[in-house]
């Protein structure tokens, strides 16, 4: 089952709102060895000008994940999950995610390329807050191995 070459440019519906919880941020921070008080202590975060604890940079993947599930679950995309390897990852921020944010993400397939029998699918998930303002874009390149 090859990757659909016409996938480039396709967008998926916005993911359901994800409410960023303070304890989830702390749990994620501990899991990635973050030790900054801004990630853990609301008072320290407020003193630094944030409304609540600040999520570590890679926390955006938790929200992005819901959009990648849409792409991988789309039978017309032709992406066999068992053959997918995470090639690269990028986060481009307008501002950091903070506890209390209600985020939605919209995935667009930026490109589909063939390389040595493999397909490289680059997916950009734009994550916005409840006011619709951009927070971060999470970009993943998935390498889909061809038939061996």
């Amino acid at each position: 089952m090859p990757v659909n070459a016409e996938l480039a440019g396709r967008s998926y519906p916005a993911s359901p709102p994800y409410l960023v919880g303070r304890e989830k941020v702390r749990e994620f921070a501990r899991a990635v060895f973050a030790t900054s008080p801004l990630n853990l202590d609301p008072d320290a975060a407020r003193a630094a000008g944030y409304p609540d604890v600040v999520a570590p940079p890679t926390f955006a993947v938790v929200v992005q994940e819901h959009t990648l599930a849409q792409l991988l679950g789309d039978p017309d995309a032709g992406i066999d999950f068992a053959r997918v390897v995470h090639g690269d990852q990028r986060f481009t921020f307008t501002r950091p995610i903070v506890a209390g944010d209600e985020l939605t993400a919209t995935l667009t397939v930026a490109s589909v390329k063939s390389l040595g029998g493999h397909s490289m699918v680059t997916a950009e998930s734009a994550i916005v807050d409840a006011a619709g303002a951009h927070v971060v874009t999470a970009i993943s390149t998935l390498v889909v191995r061809g038939d061996e």
Binding site: T35, S36, P57, E65, Q89
Partner: protein, 141 residues
């Protein structure tokens, strides 16, 4: 927590932070729960070997997540100063059930520009780099 560094005090190539992380299977289970990534290749040897891997691997996103932390600490703990962060996953981090895995992170100034700096990360395990083009753009005054 120290104050954020000044751009004028930095030189390209300078090491600004360095840190060692010891990963165990517990670390991987903790990250699985925190991130929602429950792919069993990150906690079950039988599943990992059945798909041709040597054993249980760390989540690539865990490696990415911890590798930026020395930079965040250097920024005075303010991860909001991270403008952009990218990595390429080039080699797996195999986490032995008994010995775990040691990951070493070195952060250097790669570039200075109007917005701040680009910090380049060298992330290694068993003497080999596991991330390629690992770059953090940070805002500095």
């Amino acid at each position: 927590m120290s104050a954020a560094p000044q751009k004028s005090s930095l030189t390209v190539g300078e090491v600004i932070a360095e840190h060692d992380y010891h990963l165990t299977r517990d670390t991987l289970v903790r990250y699985a729960g925190a991130s929602g990534d429950f792919n069993p290749i990150h906690y079950r040897d039988d599943v990992a070997t059945s798909v041709g891997l040597e054993g249980v691997l760390a989540h690539g996103m865990l490696t990415m997540g911890l590798a930026v932390q020395p930079v965040v600490d250097w920024l005075g703990g303010d991860s909001g100063k991270v403008l952009d962060y990218q990595v390429r996953f080039t080699r797996p981090v195999l986490v032995d059930a008994d010995a775990g895995a040691d990951v070493h992170v070195v952060a250097k100034v790669g570039l200075l520009d109007d917005d701040g700096a680009r910090i380049d990360l060298t992330v290694s395990f068993n003497g080999e780099t596991v991330l390629g083009k690992a770059q953090v753009r940070v805002a500095l005054a």
